[in-house]
């Protein structure tokens, strides 16, 4: 061990540490894999005001405001979140900043937890801001500190691009001293030509940012982190991010140009490297972002068309692709062994709602959250899933296009957190354009899919403070929806009848299905479902509930349910679904096993 303190940190934790050491005083985010833990980690540093924002656009604007005020601010989001925040991103490159602003974006190669596999590096080029890419946790931490210096020196937001592998890998990090003198904001100074983007100012600022890009490219050529590692010169590889580590593993003898500022690129360094190697490869994850720019410099890239553009890389995958001179398939194990499909938790309110929806039979425009799983077996209840908040708007469009053909048969589903993220605008549109779609709000009082974060609905802040939380009924009423009902999703008959009523209503309607996420309070169940084998006819209605606690067994000559009592929480949805009365709840006697084994007589319940 060296004298310097080294800690094992994930990429996300390292980013948070780097922000703390940089004297960041305001940090914002909206939860999303792979970046959720950045803000969660930041909330533990006392000098940082860490906040979950309503959505990524708001998160960006709050961080920008803090930077305008002369504070160092950091905003973190997943790749698709940057699409939401793109508007302020582009214009803030024009205004410039005052205190430093670092924008962290996490891409998700292989789309492990995402609706697309976008390469967010294109944003740096499109929005004209500098971008840095770390290769491990140590560099992630160090680059946050350097990104703030770069941001303030060039008066621009800086994009720090991560990928899931880096975010979720733990490597050793030597921590530094925090710049606590930087925590206090220096103050906002009015500068009309800079901060007020009227058309004339926008053109002036555009000239300024083109000049800034030239200066940033020169900086890239002088910056030590864009580094040539000379080894064998018969093969030279240009690479960046976590792909650098794969390259070092796969081609230990090759010379490497490790690019850390990947926009704007260090053209002179690239030329120097290319001229002195026999064969030049460019190895990067997802799009040929570097490769196309290298080729635009008039440099021949031997690996053109070899590197996979879909799915995550591994050292072995790039080795094979280069060897065979063609992109090789994703390496995620034996494809003949089926993967495990994610399931809704046993006893979740969504089971009841989806069972009711399946019985009614409607077209459903879905959204992003745990309830997206309603698109899978056995319900097949959701027909479209696009992005956060897309469900309501998509339903309005279907309704306008199909008219009477979908009247009373069209439902938009959205969770409480997603509704507040980006569903209120579409809901307003539904009222404004006199649509008749029914919106089902799945209110579980949390942002469940990403790990139970606070949101404006439950009022709980990133720091753990309790707030009032929004009243959804009043909010929806104020938007102009007159027909609003709240259902108990554990009452199957009520859910079905209220949903039918809503669908029949001539005008827009909202049904709020309300029950807290079971993970919020993991209580021991007081009752569980039990099967009466004599009464069961094997109709299979209980399987349509889709509960993971309902397994299958063969009795008589048919398939009957087998309740897994390790999982059953006693919600009674399957009991209600059974038309034969073969399933019934039974109270749990504490320590049943012990009593059973101690006493000679069977216990009557």
């Amino acid at each position: 061990m060296t004298a310097q303190k080294k800690l094992l940190m994930s990429g996300n934790q390292a980013i948070a540490r780097g922000a703390y050491e940089s004297g960041v005083s305001v940090a914002t985010s909206y939860p999303g894999t792979p970046c959720t833990e950045i803000l969660e980690s930041l909330s533990r540093y006392k000098t940082v005001q860490a906040m979950w924002s309503t959505n990524e656009k708001v998160a960006y604007e709050v961080a920008l405001g803090a930077a305008f005020a002369g504070a160092r601010a950091l905003v973190a989001m997943k790749h698709v979140g940057l699409n939401v925040a793109a508007d302020p991103l582009f214009s803030s490159v024009y205004t410039g900043i005052n205190g430093g602003l670092v924008v962290v974006v996490g891409d998700d190669p292989s789309a492990g937890s995402s609706q697309n596999e976008q390469d967010s590096r294109h944003y740096a080029r499109a929005a004209k801001l500098p971008m840095l890419e770390p290769s491990d946790s140590q560099e992630a931490k160090d680059l946050v500190v350097e990104a703030f210096e770069l941001s303030e020196r060039f008066d621009t937001p800086v994009l720090l691009r991560l990928t899931t592998r880096l975010c979720h890998s733990k490597t050793l990090v030597a921590v530094g001293e925090p710049q606590l003198d930087r925590v206090a904001a220096t103050g906002f100074v009015r500068d009309f030509d800079k901060y007020v983007l009227l058309p004339r100012q926008a053109i002036l600022r555009h000239t300024a940012i083109e000049n800034r890009l030239v200066a940033l490219a020169e900086h890239a050529d002088r910056w030590g982190r864009n580094r040539i590692e000379w080894r064998n010169r018969s093969r030279g590889i240009i690479t960046s991010g976590v792909a650098y580590e794969y390259v070092r593993e796969a081609f230990p003898e090759a010379s490497v140009l490790k690019l850390t500022q990947t926009y704007p690129l260090p053209a002179e360094t690239i030329r120097e490297f290319a001229e002195r190697v026999d064969e030049l490869l460019v190895i990067e994850e997802l799009d040929p972002f570097l490769e196309e720019q290298v080729r635009a410099l008039g440099i021949r890239v031997a690996s053109e068309g070899w590197i996979p553009r879909v799915g995550e890389l591994t050292p072995e995958r790039i080795q094979l692709s280069v060897e065979r001179k063609s992109p090789q398939p994703i390496q995620n194990g034996d494809p003949s062994i089926a993967g495990r499909v994610p399931r809704i938790c046993a006893g979740c309110q969504y089971l009841g709602v989806f069972t009711a929806i399946t019985r009614i039979g409607v077209r459903v425009a879905g959204d992003i959250g745990c309830y997206t799983l309603g698109a899978l077996e056995p319900w097949n209840a959701i027909d479209t899933v696009v992005c956060m908040g897309a469900g309501i708007g998509t339903a309005i469009g279907m309704e306008k296009a199909l008219g009477d053909r979908v009247r009373g048969k069209l439902l938009a589903i959205i969770g409480d957190s997603t509704l507040l993220h980006s569903g209120l605008g579409p809901l307003l549109d539904l009222v404004y354009n006199q649509g008749q779609t029914t919106v089902l709000v799945m209110d579980n009082s949390t942002t469940a899919m990403t790990g139970l974060q606070g949101n404006p609905g439950n009022g709980r802040t990133a720091g753990g403070e309790a707030g009032p939380g929004v009243n959804l009924e009043k909010l929806i009423e104020a938007i102009g929806i007159e027909w609003i009902r709240v259902i108990n999703p554990y009452d199957l008959a009520e859910s079905e009848s209220v949903l039918r009523e809503a669908l029949d209503h001539p005008g827009p309607s909202v049904v709020i299905s309300r029950a807290p996420c079971l993970l919020l309070k993991q209580k021991k169940p007081v009752q569980q479902a039990h099967l009466s084998e004599e009464a069961c006819t094997g109709c299979g209605e209980c399987f349509q509930v889709g509960c993971v606690a309902i397994e299958k067994q063969n009795i008589h000559d048919f398939v009957a349910p087998l309740i897994n009592h390790d999982l059953c929480v006693g919600c009674t949805l399957c009991v209600q679904a059974c038309p034969e009365g073969a399933l019934a709840p039974r109270k749990i006697v504490p320590d049943l096993v012990e009593i059973d084994t101690c006493l000679p007589q069977p216990i009557s319940l």
């Binding site: 894999t33 592998r165 034996d334 309902i550």
Partner: protein, 203 residues
């Protein structure tokens, strides 16, 4: 026997959500750190809470680069369930070794009766352990990850004191006597099995 002398060493740990794969990986990481090695760990836990697969890779060595290896790059596979072992088998080197808990939970199947082992289960690199059975007998079913970590420890030349240091570093709710006992039981089972059947070197 793969040992930290054959550096770098890559271990892949796989299982189901709730089995404690990530914790087992963290303990291996801690033991290797105490032993003075450079370590890197990569986790995949996307939908683990919802009955998905969980896996992590731990790399042990000096001046490591990649946090993970691809197909054919892993020295040791530790699996807490049969299908997870077979799913990850392409990652194992031809000379590698898989230490697998005898438990089958077929993906997509809702019935425990519907559990037949696929042909890949005959791969000679697999070595089976009755972790589920033994931890159930000891009424420590939740310590399965510790039992299998003990099995893994029997195949690594990381001194016992470093494992003890790793176990001592656990948070109080994980630092139970049952977990320590099951780790020790797994270590003994691994050592006994190692004597009976040396490391498989052919495919």
């Amino acid at each position: 026997m793969p040992a930290p002398t054959d550096l770098p060493l890559t271990v892949l740990i796989a299982g189901l959500g709730g089995q404690g794969v990530v914790l087992a990986g963290d303990l291996l990481l801690a033991a290797a750190l105490h032993a003075g090695f450079d370590v890197k760990k990569s986790e995949i836990h996307g939908l683990s809470r919802r009955f998905g697969s969980v896996s992590c890779q731990v790399r042990i060595g000096r001046d490591l680069h990649s946090p993970l290896r691809g197909h054919g790059g892993v020295d040791l596979l530790l699996a807490l369930e049969g299908y997870e072992a077979l799913k990850q088998l392409p990652f194992l080197k031809p000379t590698g070794l898989a230490l697998v808990n005898r438990l089958w939970r077929k993906p997509g199947a809702m019935s425990p009766a519907d559990q037949t082992a696929p042909a890949q289960a005959n791969d000679r690199r697999l070595q089976w352990f009755a972790g589920t059975e033994l931890t159930h007998q000891a009424e420590s079913a939740r310590s399965l990850n510790f039992y299998m970590l003990g099995v893994l420890a029997s195949r690594l030349q990381i001194a016992e004191e470093f494992w003890t240091a790793a176990l001592d570093g656990l948070r109080t709710n994980d630092s139970t006597e049952a977990n320590r006992e099951m780790f020790a039981a797994g270590l003994r089972a691994g050592q006994a099995a190692g004597k009976r059947r040396p490391r498989v070197t052919t495919k």
